[in-house]
C-alpha cells in the first residue's frame, strides 16, 4: 500500500424508516471491505418481561412492539398461544382475523409506498413535499391508507394497537350490516390500489438483483397472510413447529437486533418479494393481471421493485377484504375458550414486512415461562447487508453525498421495521 486516504461520511438522517439504526460501510483500497447495518434502537426487552404474564396477555402486550404492524404481532401471538393450549378457533373467527389483517396490509403497504418509499423515486424528501406539486397523488395514497385503517378500526376498535383481539378470537364481532359501508369504501379503494400499481410501475428501477434464498409462508389455495407452512425458494418446506430447528439466530456486536440465517444454508430474505415469488399463483386474477402489466415476472429479485409488489399485494388485500365481507357470517361466539395448560406453542403469520414467528412456553397455570419473537427485519438483516455491499461496490465512483443518498434509498427498499427488530440511520462511509 503506497498511501492511505480515509474519509468518513457521517449523515445522521436515514429518514422514512421505522426505528433507529445506522449503516457503516468501509471501503479499503477501492473495494468494499465491510458493510454493517447497525440497529441501535434501544433494547426494549419484550421477551424478558413477558415471562410471568398470563397466557391471555401477549396480544395486547406484543402489539406494542410496533405501531405500524400491531395486528401482525397480535395474530402471531394468538396463533402461538392457541397452539400451546391446543385450541383451534372457529372458521368465522379465522375469517375475521384474516379480514383485520387485510386492513393492516393495506394500511402498512400504502404508508410505505406513498409516505416512505415513492418520494425516493420522484426526487422528493417527503410525501408532504410531493403534495406541493402533486396533491392529487398524495391524497389518493392517504385515502387508500385510510381504507385500511378504517377496516382495522371497525374490527379492532383502534387502528394502532387494536383492543378487540384476544386469544381465541375477539371480544366482540361485528354484525354484517356494520361491514356494509366498509365494502363500499373498499370498492373505491380497489380503483385507488390499481392506480397505485400503474403509478409505481412507471418508476425508474436501477438494475440490481440478489440471489438470496427467499422465505415465506405458503397456504395452498390462498395467498398467505395469517397461516401457512414455511417454504423457501431453495425447496425447503416445514411446519411452523420446526421453525427454530431451521432458523438460527445469533447476536452480532453491532446491532441490538439478532441476525437470523437458515441452518446450513445461510442468509435469506422474507417479505413481500419472497411472498410474491413463492405464492403468485394464489393472487386474485385481477392482482395477477396488475402484476404482469407492471412488469413483474415469475419472481421478484430486484429489491427496488418491492414497491410494485407492495402495490400488487394491496390490490390483493382490498379484493380479499371485499370477498371476506361478502362471505361474512358472524361466528356463533366471538371467541372460543382457551383454558390454560402447560406446553409450548409456536405461531407464524405474514406481517407486511415478512414472516413473524412467536413461541411461548406456558406452565400449568398458563403463566409464560419463556417467550421468543423473531421479527422479519432481523431475519432480513444479513441479506440487506449483503445487498448493500454489492450495491456500494458498483457505485464507488459516486461522491460521498450521492452514495449516501443512494444507500439510504436502497435500505428503504426492504421497508425495514427497526422498532420491531429492536429512525434514524446514521450512515458512515469510511474510505481508505
Amino acid at each position: 500500500m503506497t498511501h492511505r486516504y480515509e474519509r468518513v461520511i457521517d449523515v445522521r438522517a436515514l429518514a422514512r424508516v421505522e426505528g433507529e439504526g445506522a449503516m457503516h460501510v468501509r471501503v479499503r483500497d477501492g473495494a468494499v471491505d465491510d458493510v454493517r447495518l447497525e440497529i441501535y434502537e434501544p433494547p426494549r426487552f419484550f421477551e424478558a418481561f413477558l415471562r410471568g404474564r398470563q397466557h391471555t396477555e401477549p396480544p395486547d402486550i406484543t402489539a406494542r412492539i410496533c405501531g405500524i404492524c400491531p395486528v401482525a404481532y397480535q395474530m402471531s401471538a394468538c396463533a402461538a398461544i392457541e397452539d400451546a393450549c391446543r385450541v383451534t378457533v372457529s372458521p368465522g373467527v379465522a375469517a375475521l382475523r384474516r379480514l383485520i389483517y387485510c386492513g393492516e396490509w393495506i394500511e402498512s403497504h400504502t404508508l410505505h409506498i406513498y409516505l416512505l418509499h415513492a418520494p425516493d423515486f420522484l426526487g422528493y424528501g417527503s410525501a408532504l413535499a410531493l403534495a406541493k406539486d402533486r396533491r392529487d397523488l398524495v391524497e389518493r395514497g392517504l385515502a387508500l391508507k385510510q381504507a385500511g385503517n378504517d377496516l382495522i378500526e371497525l374490527i379492532g376498535g383502534r387502528a394502532i394497537h387494536p383492543i378487540n383481539v384476544r386469544v381465541g378470537g375477539f371480544y366482540r364481532v361485528p354484525a354484517p350490516r356494520e361491514l356494509a359501508p366498509l365494502r363500499e369504501r373498499l370498492r373505491a379503494a380497489l380503483d385507488q390500489a390499481l392506480d397505485t400499481v400503474r403509478w409505481v410501475a412507471g418508476f425508474d428501477f436501477p438494475e440490481f438483483h440478489h440471489d438470496h434464498e427467499m422465505l415465506a409462508l405458503c397456504t395452498p389455495g390462498t395467498y398467505p397472510i395469517e397461516t401457512g407452512f414455511v417454504t423457501t425458494t431453495g425447496g425447503l418446506s416445514f411446519d411452523v413447529a420446526q421453525f427454530e430447528q431451521h432458523i438460527i439466530e445469533e447476536q452480532v456486536p453491532h446491532s441490538t437486533a439478532l441476525h437470523a440465517h437458515l441452518a446450513g444454508r445461510g442468509r435469506y430474505l422474507t417479505g413481500p418479494a419472497a411472498r410474491y415469488t413463492l405464492n403468485r399463483h394464489w393472487l386474485t386474477p385481477l392482482a395477477r393481471e396488475a402484476a404482469a402489466a407492471a412488469g413483474l415476472g415469475e419472481e421478484c429479485r430486484n429489491p427496488y421493485r418491492s414497491i410494485v409488489v407492495r402495490a400488487v399485494e394491496t390490490v390483493y388485500a382490498v379484493e380479499e377484504a371485499i370477498r371476506l365481507i361478502d362471505a361474512y357470517e358472524p361466528p356463533p361466539s366471538p371467541a372460543v375458550p382457551v383454558p390454560a395448560r402447560a406446553g409450548t406453542g409456536r405461531g407464524a403469520t405474514e406481517a407486511p414486512r415478512g414472516t413473524l414467528f412467536h413461541r411461548y412456553d406456558l406452565d400449568p397455570d398458563g403463566r409464560i415461562t419463556a417467550a421468543r419473537i423473531v421479527p422479519p427485519t432481523s431475519q432480513n438483516q444479513a441479506a440487506i447487508e449483503d445487498d448493500l455491499a454489492r450495491f456500494v461496490a458498483g457505485r464507488l465512483d459516486l461522491d460521498d453525498e450521492r452514495l449516501t443518498t443512494q444507500c439510504e434509498q436502497a435500505i428503504r427498499n426492504y421497508d425495514p421495521c427497526i422498532s420491531c427488530a429492536t429512525h434514524f440511520l446514521d450512515l458512515h462511509v469510511e474510505r481508505s
Binding site: 433494547p43 426487552f45 394497537h161
Partner: protein, 251 residues
C-alpha cells in the same frame, strides 16, 4: 407572522404515537399547510435546523445517549409536548424498573455486554420540563389534532383529566362491571380514548394511565369483587403505564 415549525422526535418506543399524525389522513395535508414540518424523520428526509416552535416527543429515556439528546431537544423547542405512554410514563419498557435489567439482557441477548442501556426507562418529564402531556398507548389522533389546533390558535389545549367512566356514560355504553362483572380500570383511568374497550365489551386495561386523583383503594376493591386475584391486579396496573400506576398505588 411566520409559519410555526413542528418537530417530531423519537426515543424508545414503537413509533405508534407519531404514526398517529400520519394516520390523520383527512387532516395531514391541512396541518402541513399550517405548520412547517421541520424535523419528522419518520415522514421526511427534509430536516430544518432548530429552534422549533412545537416539538412532539415520543418514547422514553433508556440509554445514556438519549438522556443527553433530550436536553438538546428541550433547548431547541419553544413548546415541548410528550406524546404517549412511553414519553409520559416510561412505557411498557419501564417494566424493567422493578426488575434486574442485566438479567433481562441475558434472557434476550447471548452477548448482553454489547448493549448500552440504562437500568430504567423513564418519562421525558423526569429529565426536562414538559409543557403538555398527551397520554395513551397510543395517543388518540383527534386529541393530537385538537392540541396542535389549539396551539396554532394561541390557546391552551383542553386535555381531559377525568376518568374513562365519564366518556363511557356519554357513549351510552353498558357498564361492563355492573352488567357483566368484568374487571375494568375505567374508574381510575384517564379519558381520551373514547371508551373503546367497554364499547367492545371488555374492561378498560388502563392504557391512558391514571386519571387525576383516582380512588385507587376503591378501584382495587372493585377489581377483587370481579374475581381478580392480587397478582392479577398487580399485573394489570403494571403494564403500559407502569410507573404512573405505581405512583398511584404508593400514595
Amino acid at each position: 407572522m411566520s409559519t410555526p415549525t413542528l418537530a417530531v422526535w423519537k426515543f424508545a418506543s414503537c413509533d405508534g404515537c407519531q404514526l398517529s399524525l400520519l394516520d390523520c389522513e383527512d387532516e395531514l395535508l391541512a396541518v402541513a399547510d399550517r405548520v412547517r414540518i421541520a424535523h419528522f424523520l419518520e415522514a421526511s428526509s427534509d430536516v430544518l435546523p432548530g429552534p422549533y416552535d412545537i416539538s412532539l416527543v415520543e418514547g422514553s429515556i433508556t440509554t445514556p445517549e438519549d438522556a443527553e439528546r433530550i436536553q438538546r431537544v428541550r433547548a431547541d423547542s419553544r413548546i415541548l409536548i410528550t406524546i404517549g405512554a412511553c414519553a409520559t410514563a416510561g412505557g411498557i419498557q419501564a417494566l424493567r424498573n422493578q426488575a434486574d435489567v442485566d438479567e433481562y439482557a441475558k434472557v434476550v441477548y447471548a452477548r448482553p455486554e454489547y448493549l448500552s442501556t440504562l437500568a430504567t426507562s423513564t418519562p421525558i418529564a423526569a429529565h426536562v420540563d414538559v409543557d403538555y402531556e398527551l397520554h395513551g398507548c397510543p395517543i388518540d389522533r383527534r386529541q393530537l389534532l385538537d392540541t396542535i389546533g389549539a396551539l396554532l390558535a394561541g390557546r391552551r389545549p383542553a386535555l381531559p383529566a377525568h376518568s374513562v367512566c365519564f366518556d363511557c356514560k356519554l357513549r351510552n355504553n353498558v357498564c361492563v362491571v355492573v352488567a357483566r362483572g368484568e374487571p375494568c380500570l375505567g374508574p381510575v383511568t384517564r379519558a381520551g380514548c373514547g371508551a373503546i374497550c367497554p364499547a367492545f365489551g371488555r374492561g378498560c386495561f388502563g392504557c391512558f394511565g391514571p386519571a387525576e386523583s383516582p380512588n385507587a383503594p376503591a378501584e382495587a376493591a372493585l377489581l377483587r369483587a370481579t374475581g381478580m386475584s392480587e397478582d392479577d391486579i398487580r399485573r394489570v396496573h403494571r403494564t403500559f403505564n407502569v410507573t404512573a400506576f405505581d405512583t398511584e398505588r404508593a400514595s
